[in-house]
């Protein structure tokens, strides 16, 4: 039962300790902040700030919202999470430095974030199927300090990559992962070339499942002299042998090779093994949306026409 005022817990330990409980209040506010931050934005908003007054205060502080981690989505609709995200961004009061979004993110949300958080250093939009290339470009144009960008499993044109590269001179990390293909015929160096051309400052590049070939790889090695970490897992068109291999290993400290283990890869690493030839491009780079549950309502999309439906007919 919900109690309206604080009453001591009936548990035996509390009885023994007396007023030495509650221990949490002994912790400095800064510790509470760092502990609660680990819960992720959603749980902070939904749960943590509703526990008690001191936690509520901590949860409202802008310092809690410098890094927003929108993980552990529950079963609310996308609108709910978008709203929650906006709220979190508001709470940061312009101090947002890092944010990662999920499938609920839209172009308008991105725009909202970009408008209020020009200091953003890290943006992750993995598996955001509703974000368009244009939306992304527009947002990134307002984020000149961006150092880290992840656009995995999103539909992003290669041209947009170039625009992004040009908008963000400080870009040090790029992750553009997609579903790996096991069909050597299906080659494409566009992504690699775009990166090589416009992102000279890259230190960390992850192109899981990309369709680049040796040509693309060479271009990257040329165009990104500061590369320290290169992840080419499931890039089956790259033949990392001989001179290319040597060059790669010389210039880059850590190289994940096409056939390396995927045990530490955060996404689903199932390889697309489409062998039929009448499907030249296989599936799109966007991952199969099997996990998404779209709450399509039974009512028609047209809001105004519900004349035949009267929910109160039961009550007459």
């Amino acid at each position: 039962m919900a109690s309206s005022s604080w009453s001591p817990s009936p548990s035996p330990t509390a009885m023994k300790e007396g007023d030495n409980y509650p221990n949490w209040t002994e912790l400095l506010p800064e510790l509470t902040s760092s502990i609660l931050h680990r819960l992720g934005a959603i749980e902070i908003v939904e749960t943590a700030r509703r526990v008690c007054r001191s936690w509520r205060r901590v949860c409202k502080d802008p310092s809690m919202w410098r890094k927003i981690d929108m993980r552990n989505l529950g079963d609310h609709g996308d609108m709910y999470y978008e709203e929650l995200c906006r709220h979190a961004v508001d709470l940061s009061q312009g101090g947002l430095v890092e944010i990662n979004l999920c499938h609920f993110a839209t172009d308008s949300l991105l725009s909202y974030i970009a408008d209020s958080s020009s200091n953003l250093r890290s943006l992750k939009v993995a598996q955001c199927y509703e974000i368009t290339s244009d939306g992304l470009i527009e947002a990134v144009a307002k984020l000149p300090l961006l150092e880290e960008l992840e656009v995995s499993y999103c539909s992003l044109s290669e041209e947009s990559l170039k625009v992004i590269g040009n908008s963000c001179p400080n870009l040090k990390t790029l992750k553009k992962n997609c579903v790996g293909y096991k069909r050597p015929r299906d080659e494409c160096d566009d992504v690699a070339l775009a990166i090589a051309e416009t992102m000279p400052g890259l230190r960390h590049l992850q192109l899981f499942g990309d369709r680049l070939t040796d040509v693309g790889l060479n271009a990257i090695l040329d165009g990104c002299p500061n590369l320290e970490h290169l992840d080419l897992r499931q890039c089956f068109n790259v033949d990392l042998v001989g001179d290319l291999e040597k060059r790669c290993l010389e210039r880059v400290k850590v190289v994940r090779r096409p056939n390396d283990s995927v045990h530490d890869y955060p996404f689903d690493a199932t390889v697309n093994d489409v062998s039929s030839s009448d499907d030249p491009y296989g599936l799109s780079d966007v991952d199969i949306m099997s996990e998404d549950e779209f709450y399509y309502d039974d009512l028609s999309e047209d809001a105004s026409d519900n004349s035949d439906f009267d929910p109160y007919e039961y009550y007459y």
């Binding site: 760092s34 502990i35 819960l39 526990v51 906006r86 999309e301 929910p311 109160y312």
Partner: protein, 343 residues
Amino acid sequence: MSESDLDIMEPQTMKSYIYLQTADGSVQQVEQEVAMFCPMICQEVIHNGAGSSKNHAISLPQRVNTAMFSLILDYCRFHQVPGRSNKERKIYDEKFMRMETKRLCELTSAADSLQLKPLVDLTSRALARIIEGKSPEEIRDIFHLPDDLTEEEKLEPLKNTMDDPRIRLLNRLYAKKRKELKERERLKNVEVEEHVDERSVDDLLSFINGRDPKVVKMSKGKKKYKKKKNQKIISSNDKESHDLHFKQQGVEDTGCRMRDLSSLEDEIFTPKDGCEDDEIDPAMKEMLDREVEDFARRLNSNWVQSLGQERRPVHFSINGNGTTRRHIGNDISFFACIIVMLS
């Protein structure tokens, strides 16, 4: 061995010890390499030359009592050994973290005062894991935190960034209802006049749909997440995880739940300070109160009658940005959802 001997000991011939005094006054001698694992102790030794003898023992911060200190020393003793593999360390850490919640809190605090960041991270992570997935009430129980938020604050939704007038209206009505119920609680012993509203359902519906110009011109209210609110209401009382969603068409399924809600009502709206409401014309207030109350009564009684066997969870979401994927299909059903919660 006399103290002066210890003072001039050499590292090669003898193990070096650091002298540390815990909050309760007892002095302990600890192997140098173990103690120096704590940055705070390290600093004291190097910068202030302290800890070399019993008389010059380093006073540990108040939060480090003997029990905590012993734990911390165990941790340092293990980790300061350079040869261990990451896996070894990880296994040790996992085992080390298995302790009562209260100790975990104390340990976090103690480790923090000694600036032992790896241990602070470890304990913080463990505490976060304990908090994860629990309800506010469960968390309060575990950590013995005071239940000092108002009911309003507990149910507070996210900030309203939507401008839908219908939502504002409904929020307004809900707020009025809440306030009225709080008032009632306060005047528990006084007879409350029952307002009999003679108006038909149609009139009420037209009022709701905003054809009454007075009603539409409301000040901004807060957007509320009905689903979440309902979850909170129910879980706080029944301690079950009812999945109270509202489908735009199928509110009849939730008839059974309404009974729960109406019994919860009094529980929730206990008199508390800090209920701030925007100023509203008192006549309007009264009208609204009557509307809402009567409608709620009607719906509640009717719903209970029309109980269905099936109780599937129904989904309800609010469209704020004009996207057509999900939206309020029907003013009436939308309001009905709100009323359901009020009753």
